[in-house]
């Protein structure tokens, strides 16, 4: 549906565009985290692209599929003007789940990046306020990761103010 977006990205990034996928009416571009901010800025500011609306950001944990690298952070963008959509995917290694935040470009990603951090432990460099959003601060672990068992118990939290 938005094939010309992928072509424009290919032209702009050249080799740095690792892969593209088009399936089920979705267009996806896989890029490295070093090129993320450049690609995102191009998508937002270029008048042909004009991706002004952030849709969602989340992460896929590929541990159970046995694929490397383990994490894939997905950013979905939409253009109100041209009515096309695109998904950016950034692969991340298990030992080094850090990538630049896109909140400075689109404030709508603020809470969703916090949610991705909360659930998967992905660090977003440059996020104004990266802390847990759904879970309490003393929570141990990242629950949506595939090696977090569903019935795991959490340690009890001391309430020092009640002594």
């Amino acid at each position: 549906m938005s094939a010309k977006v992928l072509e424009a990205l290919k032209k702009k990034l050249g080799d740095k565009l690792l892969a593209t996928e088009s399936a089920h009416t979705d267009d996806t571009a896989v890029i490295d985290r070093a090129t993320l901010v450049d690609a995102a800025t191009f998508l937002r500011d270029d008048p042909e692209m004009a991706f002004d609306a952030p849709v969602f950001v989340t992460c896929i944990d590929r541990l159970d599929l046995g694929l490397e690298p383990r994490f894939e952070v997905c950013f979905q963008l939409r253009s109100t003007v041209h009515r096309h959509r695109v998904r950016l995917k950034v692969p991340l290694q298990e030992k080094d789940p850090v990538l630049p935040s896109l909140t400075p470009l689109w404030p709508g990603f603020n809470w969703q990046e916090r949610e991705t951090f909360d659930m998967y432990g992905i660090q977003f460099d440059g996020h104004p306020d990266l802390r847990r959003i759904y879970l309490y601060e003393e929570f141990v672990g990242y629950p949506l990761r595939k090696d977090y068992p569903k019935d795991k118990r959490q340690p009890l939290v001391r309430r020092d103010d009640l002594d």
Partner: protein, 413 residues
């Protein structure tokens, strides 16, 4: 009896009150919620206020987090429908429809859903939209003090819930939609009853508007409260009535038409100032448009099957299940293994009651999703609230909060 003047601020003379020195003050941190009548569905706001004026607000959702995504990874696709009901629990049919469409997209069955099933989905979806808007408007104005309008709205909403209860068995938690259609056909007198209810609803909307729209008190509390410019709204990811109130004409049903929405005539209301008053007007207008869609759908709905005739997706008839081994095995595998969805990932979005409700599903070829992410519009809208609240009084938090229609189940998942 002590002199009143002496008690105030330690000053002894009335003239002292006319001095220009500011009253010494400091910022105060107040906690609002999570257990608070105005914090719909448990949200906590840690306010830093200067007197009555909000300087900073740290909105903390998550008190209703029920791990939808983790549960979805351990349940078959059909088992996830009850979970989706509990996302946006005032418009549950819309969540059901969104999820079903997402799975059908991965199965490449989107154009093979029987027409009658599509129309039924539109009918129940628009009914859910009406209940969503009635709840939002009703509950918000109650918090502003307009109890009568609240009761009118909820009484009207109850008619719809009764109708859906006849259809699916439950007022709110329907689990009525399935992958490939809906679970069973409409009740025989559904169209008559719906028609009758819509005829009753229209005067109720007029009554409600009569109490609110031109009411000076309501107007003063809502106009210019929490405004958003169009560019800011888009950059914040807002969608739905909140975005349309800012002047941006974006409605998924018109811009990326799905199901049979392209066969109906309806208008999309767009506001000007983006404040709470515009959001209220947009919602009321949309109520009328939903009624329009419902009337057209009732006229156009054809006869036919309500579930796709594909053995990989649909359960067999109970009669053959109990009497033939083939249907028994098929029924068994459907329930136990789940619908085998080929590996892939897709993002499907519909116009939910609050905005763009999307499901991002990644499947690995088995009967359970590998990942099922919900793009919930309430979550995104709630993130913009702290910006809107800045500079307003504490009492303005109530209409701001009410008019973004933050449903706890959808926001916290």
């Amino acid at each position: 009896m002590a002199d009143t003047k002496t008690l105030v601020l330690g000053h002894k003379n009335a003239e002292d009150f006319d001095r220009d020195e500011p009253i010494p003050n400091e910022l105060m941190t107040i906690n609002m919620g999570p257990s608070h009548p105005a914090m719909h569905g448990t949200v906590r706001i840690v306010l830093t206020v200067d007197g009555e004026r909000v300087e900073a607000a740290d909105v903390q959702p998550g008190y209703l987090h029920r791990c939808f995504e983790k549960e979805a990874e351990y349940a078959t696709y059909t088992q996830i429908f009850p979970y989706t009901d509990r996302l946006n629990y005032v418009s549950p049919m819309l969540n059901n429809v969104g999820f079903a469409m997402a799975v059908e997209k991965l199965l490449d069955l989107t154009d093979q859903i029987p027409e009658r099933a599509e129309y039924i989905r539109v009918l129940v979806g628009e009914i859910s939209r009406i209940t969503d808007h009635l709840t939002c408007v009703g509950a918000s104005v109650m918090e502003l003090g307009a109890f009568t309008a609240f009761l009118y709205a909820l009484k009207a909403r109850e008619w719809f819930y009764e109708l859906l209860e006849e259809l699916s068995g439950a007022r709110l938690t329907h689990a009525y939609v399935r992958v490939g259609g809906v679970v069973k056909d409409l009740t025989p007198d559904f169209k008559e009853r719906l028609s009758h209810i819509l005829d009753k609803l229209e005067p109720v909307i007029v009554e409600m508007e009569g109490l609110l729209t031109e009411n000076k008190v309501f107007y003063d509390r809502m106009v210019d409260v929490g405004p958003f410019t169009a560019e800011d709204a888009i950059a914040h990811g807002l969608t739905g009535p909140v975005l349309r109130a800012c002047g941006v004409d974006y409605d998924v049903r018109k811009d990326f038409p799905y199901s049979v929405y392209d066969r109906f005539e309806f208008d999309v209301p767009v506001g000007t100032r983006g404040d709470c008053y515009d959001r209220y007007l947009v919602r009321v207008f949309e109520l009328r448009q939903s009624i329009r869609i419902l009337r057209q759908a009732m006229q156009q709905i054809p006869e036919g099957p309500v579930v796709i005739d594909d053995p990989r997706v649909a359960l067999p008839q109970k009669k053959s299940t109990y009497n033939t081994i083939e249907a028994m095995i098929r029924h068994f595998k459907h329930i136990m293994d789940g619908i085998r969805v080929p590996a892939g990932e897709a993002y499907t979005f519909i116009e939910g009651g609050n905005g763009e409700l999307g499901f991002f599903i990644k499947s690995d070829g088995s009967g359970r999703p590998y990942k099922c992410y919900v793009r919930s519009p309430s979550f995104v809208q709630l993130s913009s609230v702290s910006k809107t609240m800045h500079g307003h009084l504490i009492s303005d938090i109530v209409p701001i909060f009410g008019m973004i229609n933050m449903i706890g189940g959808e926001c916290d998942k």
